[in-house]
């Protein structure tokens, strides 16, 4: 499973980072992007789904293997 942030849609709400700081990082402006290539380590799948669900911009999506 991979999690991705659509850079066109992210407005820096930072909800994903608060829910799953293991999976997302923020730039100096507060815009989020996925850590590395977005691979979700085992055990963090639920956090990835929560990040998707709580993004007000609908900017986060999951790519299933």
């Amino acid at each position: 499973m991979k999690v991705k942030v659509d850079q066109e849609k992210c407005q820096g709400h930072n909800r994903c980072f608060v829910v799953a700081s293991e999976l997302f990082e923020l730039d100096d402006y507060g815009y989020a992007h996925e850590v590395g290539d977005g691979t979700v380590p085992p055990g963090l799948e639920e956090k990835a789904r929560l990040a998707v669900a709580n993004c007000p911009e609908r900017a986060i999506y999951i790519e299933e293997d």
């Binding site: 820096g12 709400h13 930072n14 909800r15 100096d28 402006y29 669900a53 709580n54 007000p56 609908r58």
Partner: protein, 407 residues
């Protein structure tokens, strides 16, 4: 269920004649929003210069994303007629970028501000905010009662903003007075608004001039040092951005802290949940923001546009009722129930789209610490007299008097 949750008697046709300043709406808007969402999801009124008001989550989302058609050049709910001598004012043309900007100005004006309001940047003020909360509690804890709005919620945001701007904390009450006269009492009363705007701008102008002479490490100095396309930012722009920081950072957060304490005063189970499970505080802050969203901003149409079957004309106002969106049952399960550990909560209390509140991390930090410190010192409290609670409404909704007692 509290008294506040009983449906009030129907006094007007809200779909065609709403008035967001009416006491019924200010005190208890939830059944009105429910009725509108169900029967007329984009309402209209002729009051206060006329406006449209969407109440469904998906409509608010769609309009907020459509900045081509819906401009932010005017963000106030009621149009303000400038005084006849406006052009003679030394501050003629000062706006409040980026909240009052559209792209392309909006893009760089927002970038100028965002680094100073990141999670990391606002964390610098955490310790000070905790100390502030405790020093306020020290003043009333022995008396067994407090006005949780006046003595607590109202006191915190202006001091944090003063710290960020590098101005003395003694200015806090003056800031509060100016902001109330601008946005609360002054929204429908230009005689209060004009002088408050002038005094606040004069104050900020002097602060900016002083930092030009002698830079420090505060936010004003950092904004002065910033460059956009290798050029410093114009004085008038900077003055407007400082104005925004003051007017957007005070009564909004104060309203949210007050609403949170109003809720907790009436819900012992929720107090207990937060005390027993302190790790849910971030969820709780989001849920309180969802249920008691304070802010309604406006947009103005750039051209004739039909939305949701409504024929909007160029320059029509649209009230962005984010608070109503956050109680839309099509989006949230049991929207009228406050569930502090709610996990699915993509609320839009801070707006959505390019104008997402730039200060959202600061507001969240202040809410979180204010609630935590209050509950550590005052785990058990209740409203002294529910009928003594007063609310401000219109553009920013929250309790202004909130007498509570505690053992």
């Amino acid at each position: 269920m509290t008294m506040e949750q009983k449906a009030p008697p129907k006094t007007r046709d809200w779909a065609t004649d709403y008035d967001i300043f009416e006491q019924e709406y200010v005190r208890h808007p939830y059944p009105i929003w429910d009725e509108l969402r169900e029967n007329c999801p984009v309402a209209h009124t002729e009051h206060w210069g006329g406006s449209w008001m969407p109440t469904r989550y998906d409509d608010l989302f769609a309009i907020a994303q459509d900045f081509e058609n819906f401009s932010s050049r005017e963000i106030l709910v009621a149009p303000i007629q400038p005084p006849p001598d406006a052009e003679a004012s030394p501050f003629y043309g000062v706006r409040a970028p980026p909240i009052s900007s559209d792209p392309p100005e909006h893009t760089w004006a927002r970038k100028l501000l965002l680094p100073h309001f990141s999670i990391k940047a606002v964390s610098i003020y955490e310790e000070e905010t905790r100390e502030l909360a405790n020093s306020l509690i020290d003043k009333f804890i022995d008396s067994g009662r407090a006005d949780a709005a006046v003595d607590y919620a109202q006191q915190i945001p202006p001091r944090v903003i003063a710290s960020m701007l590098g101005v003395p904390h003694e200015m806090a009450d003056t800031f509060t007075g100016w902001v109330r006269n601008l946005l609360e009492l002054g929204l429908t009363n230009p005689e209060l608004r004009g002088p408050a705007r002038m005094e606040l701008l004069s104050f900020l102008n002097n602060q900016i001039m002083a930092r030009r002479e002698k830079p420090t490490d505060d936010l004003i100095s950092r904004l002065l040092a910033a460059e956009v396309n290798s050029e410093p930012v114009s004085h008038i722009h900077l003055l407007g951005t400082c104005l925004l920081i003051v007017i957007a950072g005070i009564d909004t957060t104060w309203s949210s802290i007050g609403s949170a304490l109003w809720h907790l005063a009436q819900h012992p189970d929720d107090r207990r949940m937060l005390i027993e499970r302190p790790e849910i505080i971030q969820n709780a802050v989001e849920e309180l923001l969802r249920a008691y969203s304070p802010v309604t901003m406006a947009r103005v149409t750039n051209r004739d546009v039909e939305y949701g079957g409504c024929p909007m004309k160029e320059n029509d106002r649209v009230l962005m009722n984010f608070p109503a969106a956050n109680r839309d049952p099509a989006k949230f399960e049991e929207p009228d129930r406050v569930i502090l550990d709610r996990e699915f909560n993509p609320h839009i209390a801070f707006g959505v789209g390019i104008h997402r509140c730039a200060g959202s991390n600061l507001a969240r930090m202040e809410m979180r610490l204010s609630i935590e410190e209050w509950l550590k010192r005052i785990p058990d409290f209740r409203l002294e007299d529910p009928s003594a609670v007063t609310w401000a409404g219109g553009q920013v909704r929250g309790p202004r008097n909130l007498p509570v007692v505690f053992p």
